[in-house]
C-alpha cells in the first residue's frame, strides 16, 4: 500500500475509531493510543473485510472490546436511563435498573460479549438489532445477554447499596 493510500485510509477509519475511543475512554491520550492499536488490528484484518461493506460495525466491535480491556481497571462509563433505550428489556425490568457508573467490579462479573452488549446498548443506545450486527451474533443472543446483565447488575447494585 502506498503511503498516501495508507494515510487516506487512516484519516477515514482512524477518525471513526478515535471518536469511538474518546467516547468510551473519555481520555484523549488513552484514546489516541487505543486508536493506533485498533487501526493496526484493522490493517491486519483488512483482507477479511469486504471493501463493499460498511466498516463501522467492525470498528464498533473491535474498538469497544479494546476499550473495555483498557477500562478493566477503571470505571469511567456511565449509563443512560435504561428505560429510555430501545429494546432494553421489559419496561419494569429496565426501569428498575439504577442509573449509575458501570464500575470495574460490575463489568468483571461478565464475559466480554456481555460487557460489549451492555455498553453498546446502555452507553451507546444501540438497538438490539444494531448490537447483533456489530457483534455478529443473533438478536436473540443479544436480548438474552442483556436480560442476564440487567438482572445480575441489579442484584449487584442492591448488594452494594
Amino acid at each position: 500500500m502506498q503511503d498516501e493510500e495508507l494515510a487516506a485510509l487512516y484519516r477515514r477509519c482512524g477518525a471513526a475509531i478515535y471518536r469511538r475511543c474518546v467516547k468510551l475512554l473519555g481520555d484523549p491520550a488513552a484514546a489516541q493510543d487505543a486508536t493506533q492499536e485498533v487501526f493496526i488490528r484493522f490493517m491486519n484484518h483488512q483482507e477479511r473485510l469486504d471493501p463493499r461493506d460498511d466498516y463501522l460495525p467492525w470498528i464498533f466491535r473491535v474498538a469497544t472490546n479494546h476499550c473495555l480491556n483498557v477500562l478493566r481497571d477503571d470505571a469511567r462509563l456511565s449509563l443512560h436511563d435504561p428505560s429510555s433505550l430501545p429494546d432494553a428489556g421489559a419496561p419494569g425490568e429496565a426501569a428498575a435498573f439504577p442509573e449509575r457508573d458501570l464500575g470495574r467490579q460490575l463489568l468483571r462479573r461478565f464475559d466480554e460479549t456481555s460487557q460489549a452488549v451492555a455498553v453498546l446498548t446502555l452507553v451507546d443506545g444501540l438497538s438490539q438489532d444494531e448490537v447483533a450486527e456489530v457483534l455478529g451474533t443473533s438478536r436473540k443472543t443479544v436480548g438474552k445477554k442483556l436480560r442476564v446483565f440487567l438482572e445480575r447488575a441489579r442484584r449487584f447494585m442492591e448488594r452494594s447499596s
Binding site: M1, D3, Y18, R19, R20, Q36, I40, Q46, P51, D124
Partner: protein, 220 residues
C-alpha cells in the same frame, strides 16, 4: 419526533438521522461533539500518530514479505476480486514454490497457486475456485519477459493487477507476482488477462504487448 439515533446510527447518518438531528437539540449537541472530536483527530492525532502507523504497517510488510496489493482495485470497489496484503497470504518462501514437479501452466506461462484454509496447492486444470480462496501468480515462462496481469471485474472492466501502473516489469521464470487476490462469492467465472512481451510496454497501451492471453477460471 423519532427516537434518538444510536451512536452507530449517528455515525452512519442518512436522511432519517439528519431529519431527527435537525429537530433535536440534544442530538445536535452530540453531532457537534463528534465533529469536534473528528477535528481534534485531524489536527492533532493524525499528524502525531501517522508516522508510527506507517512504521508499524511497514514493518509488517517487510516481515511477511508481502505486498499490500491491488490498492487501485480496492479504491474503486472492485466487484469480484479483492487483492490485499495479509500475513495469511501465500508466502513464496514456503516449500511449495518451485520445488515440486512440472507446474501446471495457464497460457503457457502462468502458474496459479491457491491457498484454501491452510492448504497451499497449484490450481489444477478444470479445478473450480471457491469463495475465499487466496490466489498468487507465478511467472513461469521459458524466458524472462515483460509481464502484465489484469483481472476482469464484474462490470467487464479489466483492471490492472500487476503492475499497478506504468511499464510492464521484466519478470524472470519462477518469480511470483507481488500481491494476492481473494476470490469473492459472486456466482460467475473469473477472467484474467495476461500480456507478455520481450520488449518493455506501457500498460496504458493495450496493443503494445506481443501476446495477450485470456484465462478463464470457473467457480463452485
Amino acid at each position: 419526533m423519532t427516537a434518538h439515533p444510536s451512536e452507530l446510527a449517528l455515525e452512519r447518518g442518512g436522511a432519517a438521522v439528519d431529519a431527527h438531528v435537525a429537530a433535536c437539540e440534544r442530538c445536535q449537541a452530540r453531532a457537534q461533539a463528534a465533529r469536534e472530536v473528528t477535528d481534534t483527530f485531524e489536527r492533532r492525532v493524525l499528524p502525531a500518530t501517522l508516522p508510527a502507523i506507517r512504521a508499524r504497517v511497514g514493518r509488517k510488510q517487510v516481515r511477511w514479505r508481502l505486498w499490500i496489493g491491488l490498492p487501485a482495485i480496492a479504491a474503486v470497489g472492485l466487484a469480484f476480486f479483492v487483492g490485499v496484503h495479509s500475513r495469511d497470504a501465500l508466502d513464496t518462501t514456503k516449500p511449495y514454490f518451485g520445488t515440486k514437479g512440472a507446474p501446471v501452466l495457464y497460457a503457457g506461462a502462468l502458474e496459479i497457486v491457491v491457498k484454501r484454509a491452510s492448504v497451499v496447492k497449484p490450481l489444477e486444470p478444470g479445478e473450480k475456485l471457491h469463495a475465499g480462496d487466496n490466489l498468487r501468480f507465478v511467472y513461469r515462462g521459458e524466458r524472462s519477459r515483460h509481464v502484465e496481469l489484469r483481472i476482469v471485474e464484474r462490470s467487464g472492466e479489466a483492471l490492472l493487477f500487476y503492475p499497478e501502473r506504468g511499464s510492464a516489469p521484466l519478470m524472470h521464470p519462477g518469480e511470483a507476482l507481488p500481491g494476492a487476490a481473494i476470490v469473492d462469492n459472486q456466482a460467475r467465472a473469473e477472467e484474467l488477462i495476461l500480456r507478455l512481451s520481450d520488449r518493455p510496454f506501457d500498460t496504458a497501451d493495450a496493443g503494445a504487448a506481443a501476446e495477450t492471453h485470456h484465462i478463464r477460471l470457473e467457480k463452485e
